[in-house]
């Protein structure tokens, strides 16, 4: 069953000076119930614009969208009752309230019944690891703690659909790892999650499917593994050897491509014929190479390949 | 935050002029022309009080430039003083605009000599309150949240104690001593002396006293700004952002 759907969604912003800016252009997407769906794209691609439209904070200029069958432009209350939003960053919290006070407040705004509020708040604080610091003011929290409070706030209504806009931004690696575990738990509870992120490892680890967006258009929608195969259908073997050894490996039957990786004597061969893989591996080991592994293209490689390497340019 | 002509005219100045109108009404309520003139002159002169300068160090901290100023060679004082100095023109302009408004809207007829004295008087008053405000702002630099309260408290103190609404002699002796070292008191006395046609030496004496008060606060401000930076290095209150 479809949890989130956008049909030909478009959004144009009028600029005070210059031509209008098109943030989304005819974007259509479907997210199944219980799916964790990642939105990847460079800054300004339209990811946040899409999230804002789906969460009723922004009106589209073209097309339509619905959440659990409810139109995001007309059935505001119904949509808002069924979504939770998690933002990244330092903002979005009352710094002078404690975590517990914050969650009580948002529970009231989400019409959580009085008799359920306390138990739900305590359970969420426990779940995100803030129980011990629940009485401290948010202004004393680290970035990671604030992020966890954002998540708890997004879950306070027990909403079936969650929108997470760069939720791990600024988190240290351990906290980000913890966060992925939490996402997995939420998926197991049957929630639908739409997640924007720049973290490829995160998207590969938690997302069932990933949409690549650039300049407001959808470029690809696939599972992370399938996206990798878009880049190459071939098996890849990475190894460390001298130039001469690499050249001999590259000349083996079944090897379609030899690439030098960086400047540290690392090489990669792509093998077009799967049947030749064992022979190539045996040859590499026979050359005395001890550092060897097979690999598939990473999501980052796919991203760069499809979006384009634009460096620091927007 | 800075004014454009619209916000200055319709935002700031209209607020000042509403205040002036309220003093006109008080004068009418009391039915005393002399008191009305007293109130109008006092409030027009202090429309130029520079208490806003209390926010100087707070702004530097919020802009993230405070730490950079600390590590730069040389004193921080010129940078912080300079940043706020541009507002002096705004304060002087507010006062003069109020004089013009009272003349046009309420047919207030000030003597020419009085207006001639008002020009340097208001300028001196703006400078000396700017100096005290800088000093106080440096003192509360580590608690920027107090800046608006301090600005308002200082403004209230000047309006109440420095001869703006009632003569300084109205207050108990100990309050008069405080008023004597507050900016505005002597400059306003000089302006009032000029308007009343008092001898020039009286005007000059009061202007001199105001200059002395202002210079004293400016010196304290310059010393305090750098001292607070040193204290910040000791207690870790200087942040990058």
């Amino acid at each position: 069953m479809i949890a989130v759907e956008a049909i030909g969604l478009g959004r144009v912003y009028d600029a005070k000076r210059g031509p209008p800016v098109r943030a989304l252009a005819g974007l259509s997407i479907r997210i199944e119930q219980g799916e964790v769906h990642g939105l990847l794209g460079p800054n300004g691609a339209g990811k946040t614009t899409l999230i804002k439209i789906l969460s009723t904070l922004l009106l589209p200029t073209e097309g339509s969208a619905n959440v659990l069958g409810r139109d995001v432009t007309r059935e505001l209350r119904a949509v808002r009752s069924s979504i939770g939003i998690v933002l990244g960053g330092d903002r979005g919290l009352h710094s002078q309230l404690s975590a517990r006070e914050t969650l009580h407040y948002w529970a009231a705004l989400y019409n959580v019944a009085a008799r359920e509020t306390t138990s739900r708040v305590e359970s969420l604080l426990q779940r995100v690891g803030l129980l011990e610091r629940a009485e401290a003011r948010v202004e004393t929290y680290s970035r990671g703690m604030k992020q966890r409070l954002h998540l708890a706030r997004g879950l306070i209504a027990n909403a079936p659909v969650l929108f997470l806009d760069e939720p791990t931004i600024g988190m240290d690696p351990l906290a980000a790892l913890d966060f992925r575990r939490l996402i997995a738990e939420l998926r197991n509870e049957g929630r639908t999650i739409l997640l924007t992120t720049h973290d490829m490892a995160e998207a590969e680890a938690v997302c069932d499917r990933v949409s690549l967006i650039d300049h407001g258009r959808l470029i690809a929608v696939e599972t992370p593994g399938t996206l990798a195969r878009l880049l190459t259908q071939h098996e890849r073997v990475d190894f460390v050897a001298s130039e001469a050894v690499a050249a001999r490996v590259g000349a083996q039957p079944g090897v379609s491509k030899l690439t030098k990786l960086g400047t540290t004597g690392s090489y990669r061969v792509e093998i077009s014929d799967h049947a030749a893989l064992s022979a190539v591996l045996a040859h590499i080991v026979g050359e005395g190479v001890t550092s060897v592994r097979t690999s598939a293209p990473s999501l980052e490689e796919v991203y760069i390949h499809l979006i384009g390497d634009r460096g620091l340019r927007v | 935050m800075f004014w454009n002509w619209r916000t200055w005219l319709f935002g700031w100045l209209s607020r000042i002029l509403t205040g002036a109108a309220s003093w006109v009404l008080v004068g009418r309520l009391l039915g005393d022309t002399a008191r009305l003139n007293y109130l109008l002159l006092g409030n027009a002169a202090v429309a130029g009080v520079g208490t806003f300068a209390v926010a100087a160090s707070a702004w530097e901290r919020w802009d993230g430039t405070y730490a950079l100023l600390v590590v730069a060679p040389g004193s921080m004082a010129p940078a912080m003083m300079g940043r706020m100095a541009v507002w002096i023109l705004h304060w002087i302009g507010s006062s003069f605009a109020t004089f013009v408004f009272l003349w046009l809207a309420f047919s207030w007829q000030p003597p020419m000599m009085g207006l001639l004295v008002a020009i340097p008087g208001v300028t001196l008053l703006a400078l000396s309150t700017y100096a005290l405000s800088l000093f106080l702002g440096a003192c509360i630099g580590r608690v920027p949240a107090l800046r608006n309260i301090l600005i308002n408290l200082l403004t209230s103190a000047i309006l109440v104690l420095c001869g703006v609404s009632v003569p300084v002699s109205f207050w108990p002796r100990w309050v008069q001593v405080i008023a004597a070292v507050l900016p505005t008191t002597h400059a306003l006395a000089a302006i009032r002396a000029g308007f009343a046609g008092q001898p020039s030496w009286e005007v000059a004496r009061d202007m001199g006293l105001e200059a002395l008060v202002g210079f004293g606060w400016l010196t304290l401000a310059a010393l305090t700004i750098d001292r607070m930076a040193e204290a910040g290095r000791a207690d870790g209150s200087i942040h990058f952002s």
């Binding site: 959004r11 009106l59 705004l109 | 209230s156 009632v166």
Partner: protein, 263 residues
């Protein structure tokens, strides 16, 4: 129906508690309460120096109304623009609770804190100047104060929508209060205003509140108390109702223009 009402009341209670905490913990929110009553020093000094101790009630009235008014217009109406800056507005709009209701409730709490102004003002007059101010009409005084808070909250809700959501310069926002105080005769009764201005005065709740408060400080019986209170409350309800409508309109416009957040 009862369940929904209970739920609504509980919601308002939580919102009010939260705002009280925020205001207590943020000294800037209490600026008018700290500063406005100090104006009592100036106005009482003028009246005493002019040998018009009988006008001290005017000074206390002004102190009260300015504090309540500034809490509503200065602090309360800034709520929206501050929360927009802190990315809280978007999150609140995304909840199923009507933002206008949340705003009105929070502004009411903030405005009610302005009642501390009358306490401070009375203490200043009594102990700093040694002038006794008897309070012969306590119940009427309390009723007037509550009605005034309601009216100020309603007006502040409208202002917050107009200024906070319309992104109008803060300087305009602060400038517009002064004329309301003048027209309302908070310090000087409106009889001293030009005739053309006096016609506008009854449209401000300050006019009715100031008149009632001054009457409360005098021993004579207060005339038309019920009618005057009703007018204050009616003005408050109409401003507040307009405020909530304007909030909804403004939010719709901001959603359309993509300007709900500042990012």
């Amino acid at each position: 129906m009862m369940v929904r009402l209970q739920s609504f009341v509980f919601q308002l209670w939580v919102i009010a508690q939260m705002q009280l905490r925020l205001s207590r913990r943020n000294v800037e929110d209490l600026l008018p309460v700290i500063v406005m009553p100090l104006l009592t020093f100036g106005s009482v000094a003028i009246f005493i120096d002019a040998k018009r101790v009988d006008l001290v009630g005017h000074a206390l009235t002004a102190s009260t109304l300015l504090t309540v008014g500034q809490m509503g217009f200065f602090v309360g109406s800034d709520l929206v623009s501050l929360e927009r800056r802190d990315q809280l507005l978007e999150l609140m709009v995304a909840t199923p609770t009507a933002y206008g209701v949340v705003l009105a409730a929070r502004i009411s709490v903030i405005t009610a804190l302005g009642l501390l102004g009358i306490v401070e003002g009375w203490l200043i007059v009594r102990f700093a100047f040694g002038v006794p101010v008897p309070l012969p009409h306590m119940p009427e005084l309390l009723a007037t104060l509550l009605a005034t808070v309601a009216a100020a909250s309603g007006m502040a809700t409208l202002f917050s929508a107009l200024f906070g959501l319309a992104r109008t310069s803060r300087t305009f926002q602060h400038a517009i209060n002064g004329p309301f105080y003048l027209l309302g005769g908070v310090l000087v009764p409106v009889a001293y205003l030009p005739t053309w201005a006096q016609h506008l005065s009854p449209f401000t709740f300050f006019y009715w509140s100031a008149g009632l408060l001054r009457d409360c400080f005098h021993p004579e019986a207060i005339h038309s108390l019920g009618g005057r209170l009703a007018i204050i409350v009616a003005l408050g309800v109409s401003f507040g109702g307009s405020g909530v409508l304007v909030v909804n309109r403004m939010l719709h416009r901001l959603r359309r223009d993509g300007a709900l957040g500042l990012s």
